[in-house]
């Protein structure tokens, strides 16, 4: 939290120190408590089967020999394997059985995940996991080949499909003795990743381009961001993403290049250009709220006293959000932004009310959410300020000589 300490009163410094200490304590407690027993969870999901762990190591992935109570079927295997989603690590379990037609998937169980509930709801509602049922274990399980991604949860689709694929193929080769005939996984680098790079390049250019067509150029970027980052991939940056990085939730580049492109694009603009390009051009939620503001034409102002407290408001809300994230080790639990829900139209409980409130607010007050509630914009702008302070500290500008009559 980049706050100029010189401007703070002693009691404010004390509160800030306490708040930061509590964040550290929550982080440590969360890391200690987050040790779920996947072995027991997997057994609980298959109560009618005799589940015997085959491998001796205690870490994941774990392979199990499964047998029916009534008739022993030695050709059944269970695998619990880790993966990586957009929000953080995930754990899936698969149960495959050898039949006369070949070895088929019987169960896919999501034991753990860090995705936004909106994403998981969307995957479930669009029957994403049903695609795996009864598939042969020798299938490729590749997005775009034999598995379809769910638009609006594309990155989560890739994460779950890769984890399931790894688990099934491990069980097939290690336990069922099936030779690997499937296509080897390659980079998940697709059209959406290329388009995101192009979008960032265009946004970086827009930060400097001033010309006759500036207005149209910016509208073009905004429309592209809305479609690509909003509706198609639903990969807006949230407080959960920022907290996830702190907790070490960094997905493999090969599997989630989009995450890397997004983060490099977002932080690169702050570090290299000293500008917050994400909020200005890429954030699809800002595009929607700006559009609403343009449609209404209403430009209500916030009371100046409240505007001055906006900083404290966002700091407090993001602190509570971070505490929840660190304690639960689940980024979605403290991520109060309605971004993911906006573009998937899936949400849980009170999330259904935050989105319309933010939209109605934007209808009357320009940049309503961005100015008063958005933690991502706040921290990115703080990053820009910190960069500027560092630059001024390292390379102090020479004071301009006083003007004299001879200059004129």
């Amino acid at each position: 939290m980049m706050v100029n300490l010189q401007k703070l009163l002693p009691w404010e410094r004390f509160v800030q120190a306490i708040a930061f200490t509590l964040l550290v304590v929550a982080f440590v407690l969360g890391q200690i408590a987050a040790k779920p027993d996947y072995d027991a969870m997997f057994r609980a999901q298959l109560p009618n089967l005799d589940v015997v762990r085959s491998d001796k190591n205690s870490s994941l992935p774990a392979i199990y020999r499964l047998a029916d109570d009534a008739s022993e079927s030695p050709g059944a295997v269970g695998v619990v394997a880790p993966g990586s989603g957009y929000g953080g690590p995930l754990v899936v379990a698969v149960h495959a059985v050898r039949t006369e037609e070949g070895a088929k998937i019987q169960d896919v169980i999501v034991l753990d995940h860090k995705e936004s509930p909106a994403f998981l709801d969307r995957l479930q509602n669009k029957r994403f996991f049903k695609q795996f049922a009864n598939m042969d274990v020798s299938s490729d399980f590749l997005i775009g080949s034999d598995i379809d991604a769910v638009s609006g949860a594309t990155v989560s689709s890739i994460g779950f499909a890769t984890a399931i694929r790894d688990a099934v193929h491990l069980g097939a080769t290690e336990h069922l003795g099936i030779l690997a005939t499937w296509q080897q996984s390659s980079w998940n680098f697709g059209a959406q990743d290329v388009l995101l790079i192009v979008l960032f390049a265009a946004a970086y250019g827009a930060a400097y381009y001033r010309g006759k067509y500036t207005k149209y150029y910016r509208w073009g970027i905004a429309a592209s961001a809305l479609i690509l980052v909003g509706f198609y991939t639903n990969s807006s940056v949230s407080l959960g993403n920022l907290a996830g990085i702190v907790m070490g939730y960094v997905p493999p580049l090969k599997q989630h290049p989009m995450w890397w492109i997004m983060m490099i694009g977002v932080f690169g603009s702050v570090i290299v250009l000293g500008r917050n390009v994400y909020c200005q051009y890429i954030c699809p939620f800002k595009v929607v709220t700006d559009l609403l503001s343009s449609i209404s034409g209403i430009r209500l102002k916030i009371r100046p006293s409240l505007q001055r407290k906006a900083r404290l408001l966002i700091l407090t809300m993001s602190w509570v959000g971070l505490m929840l994230i660190f304690l639960s080790t689940h980024p979605a639990l403290g991520s109060y932004e309605p971004f993911a829900m906006m573009f998937s139209l899936e949400g849980i409980g009170i999330q259904w009310y935050i989105l319309p409130a933010a939209l109605i607010g934007s209808f009357f007050v320009p940049s309503f959410w961005c100015r008063l509630f958005c933690p991502v914009g706040f921290y990115l702008n703080e990053g820009v300020r910190a960069r500027r302070s560092l630059r001024d500290f390292l390379f102090p500008r020479k004071p301009k000589p006083p003007r004299t009559g001879a200059d004129e």
């Binding site: 987050a34 779920p36 969870m41 999901q45 088929k104 998937i105 019987q106 169960d107 896919v108 169980i109 999501v110 034991l111 753990d112 995940h113 509930p117 998981l120 479930q124 996991f129 049903k130 795996f132 049922a133 009864n134 209500l300 102002k301 916030i302 009371r303 409240l306 408001l313 809300m317 509570v320 959000g321 929840l324 304690l327 639960s328 080790t329 689940h330 639990l333 403290g334 109060y336 849980i348 409980g349 009170i350 999330q351 009310y353 935050i354 409130a357 933010a358 109605i360 607010g361 009357f364 007050v365 309503f368 959410w369 008063l372 509630f373």
Partner: protein, 55 residues
Amino acid sequence: MARKKKKLQKPWQYQLSFALVGLTGLLVIGFFVQSSKTVREAEPIHIAVERVKAD
């Protein structure tokens, strides 16, 4: 050229914007309460278990 005079906002307009901020703030607090209940559960990690059975 004379400067364009800034249009002052009426009190009810400030009240409306304040009400919108207050409402959204309350909803965010509600979200935190909802999330904290999930955190307090015995197995907070175990958020979703989906079992897909072959038809």
